[in-house]
Symmetry: C2
Subunit: 354 residues, 2 copies
């Protein structure tokens, strides 16, 4: 702490991202990266952009990428899309632009741990709403005065998806508040709320290129919603950093979203591996929550999660463990390749025997 | 405006960046890009990074890049360096972390027009301090109670540099306030205050890769200062977006700062062209402020600046004109290649004759 720090910076409790260790030969199943590489067409497009034009600023509005995203979903105009430097930046702007009101905002007690961090950054009051005993979101619990609602769907780190009917019920019950659905993991099994944005002016849906598009290394996220909500995000962005997306990220993301075949093939592969991994973990005695994401959330009735995570680590396998109420006995395991998941299961089998 | 907007977003007055037109064959002298391409070693390093590793998150701390920057300057440790997604993001975080106090902050009346925008975003009071009649910053005018001081050096859009002795006087006169020196253009002729960071714990120096490193398309900026100031920026960054720099930007910027030869050669070329351009503009009757940047700021005693900018535009040449008090008769002209500057001068000669 220093006398030069603002009161804001003194009060912050920064987010701690999953570890990015620089060790070779690691089975890295801790930050929900895609085990498959990005679309070969995206890599080709990136190669084509490595030239002297990098001396020039990018298009501050990422026009081509917005058009490509609108075309991917259909029935959307480019001005219903907001682009950011990863979905974390999109979420940050959304908290300040759309969730900072007099009433506290609501989000689940077990959820993406960045949400309370944003609240502290922007001085936003919040209340957490407990998930039910099976870790499902109960829509009825959100029918109280609030300044906005946000949750991931599928939820993180549980992987459990809320059906579209539940989201629609939330939107109808809260017509005066913005409802933000954070769909980082939606392409691995959930129903996207993008289908509802033209009917509900209070709905903002946030996506990322880091998971199903396999471009965590490029930092691209976006939001879809009514043009009034997108305008609010644009105003914040243009008061913060006019050029959030570099030329390479724009071009790579555009090619990635245009390659539907690669997207379909790789996400189906992840879904298949998840099914097998779930079955294998269950055969070892784990309880595995029903996942619609590219990770599973599992606990063993007889083995301590933190100890298991440590034992895995000693075998070169990294998973994520959250030392938090209600979920401290769970491991969050990214769905890797079949080989990586087999290595994980074999290691767990050894660890449980010991 | 929408009922969903926060009070913050309602009050914003977003920055308007220089135009990025998508026309071919334009002589684009409006956003101070480098006329030369980036280091060939940077392009090579970028090509080497286009592979499946893009599926993985980048190093959230940009460790390699910080080490390379520390090595470039010497006498600095990597933890005295903060990396951001362009220097605009670095500045934004610095306003919130280090300039938000009870007293108003100070900056020149004529300066980078993003500063008041940040103040509105973060609800920071400010007072502008008039430059003198020759558009120079008078250090004595900053000796009054303040919550911090920020200015570009060389100043934008004037191009006039404050000598290092002036900066040291400012630091000594304001030991309890953070002084931020925004050195976006320093490599084209000014004396960098990085030389002072180990002596003054209240000094933060901000740099960009967009100008002298010719990588505006990659979005990389950084700050150098005492570790306590850098820690404050890290806390904000980790409460906003843990991974601001993508894998490609990190690698490209690292290779660029390691290529000292390209850096020297291209910045000397820009300086030479600036000298010639200044002489040519003066021969047309322009008054040209003494520039230490990669642009010149010039006015003609008999010709209206806005009309001249429009006439240039009709000839496919874009320069920047600010419709602001004291400077509305100036044109800000980026130093391009010799050919681009010759085209500009020829066009102006025609326009002045007409």
């Amino acid at each position: 702490m220093s006398r030069f720090w603002s009161a804001t910076v003194r009060a912050l409790q920064p987010y701690v991202p999953g570890e990015q260790p620089k060790l070779p030969n690691l089975v890295k199943l801790n930050t929900n990266e895609n085990p498959y590489g990005p679309s070969p067409l995206a890599l080709e497009a990136l190669r084509g952009e490595i030239n002297d034009s990098l001396r020039l600023y990018p298009d501050p509005e990422s026009t081509r990428l917005r058009e490509a995203i609108a075309a991917f979903f259909g029935k959307l105009a480019p001005n219903q899309i907001f682009i950011g430097n990863g979905s974390d930046e999109v979420l940050a702007h959304a908290f300040l632009a759309l969730l900072k009101h007099d009433l506290p905002i609501l989000f689940p007690d077990i959820t993406y741990s960045f949400y309370p961090v944003y609240c502290r950054l922007y001085d936003i009051e919040y209340q957490t709403v407990p998930l039910d005993d099976n870790f499902a979101l109960r829509v009825a619990d959100y029918s109280r005065p609030n300044g906005g609602i946000i949750f991931p769907n599928p939820n993180a780190p549980t992987g459990i998806a809320l059906p579209l009917a539940g989201i629609e019920a939330l939107l109808k019950a809260n017509p005066d508040a913005v409802v933000i659905v954070d769909e980082a993991y939606i392409d691995f099994g959930g129903e996207s709320a993008v289908a509802l944005v033209n009917q509900y002016p209070n709905l903002l849906v946030v996506h990322t290129f880091s998971k199903s598009r396999s471009l965590a290394g490029l930092r691209v996220g976006f939001a879809v919603g009514h043009v009034d909500l997108i305008d609010a995000l644009q105003r914040v962005k243009n008061s913060f950093n006019s050029y959030p997306l570099d030329r390479l990220a724009s071009v790579g993301a555009t090619a990635a979203i245009e390659d539907r075949e690669w997207f379909e093939r790789t996400r189906q592969a992840v879904i298949r591996t998840r099914t097998a991994l779930t079955r294998d973990l269950e055969s070892l005695g784990f309880e595995v929550l029903p996942s619609a994401a590219n990770f599973v959330f599992a606990r063993h009735p007889k083995h301590d999660a933190e100890k298991s995570a440590l034992a895995l680590r000693q075998r070169g396998i990294i998973v994520r463990h959250f030392k938090l109420p209600r979920i401290e006995q769970f491991l969050r395991i990214t769905v890797g390749t079949d080989e990586q998941c087999a290595a994980l299961v074999a290691a767990l089998r050894e660890i449980l025997k010991a």
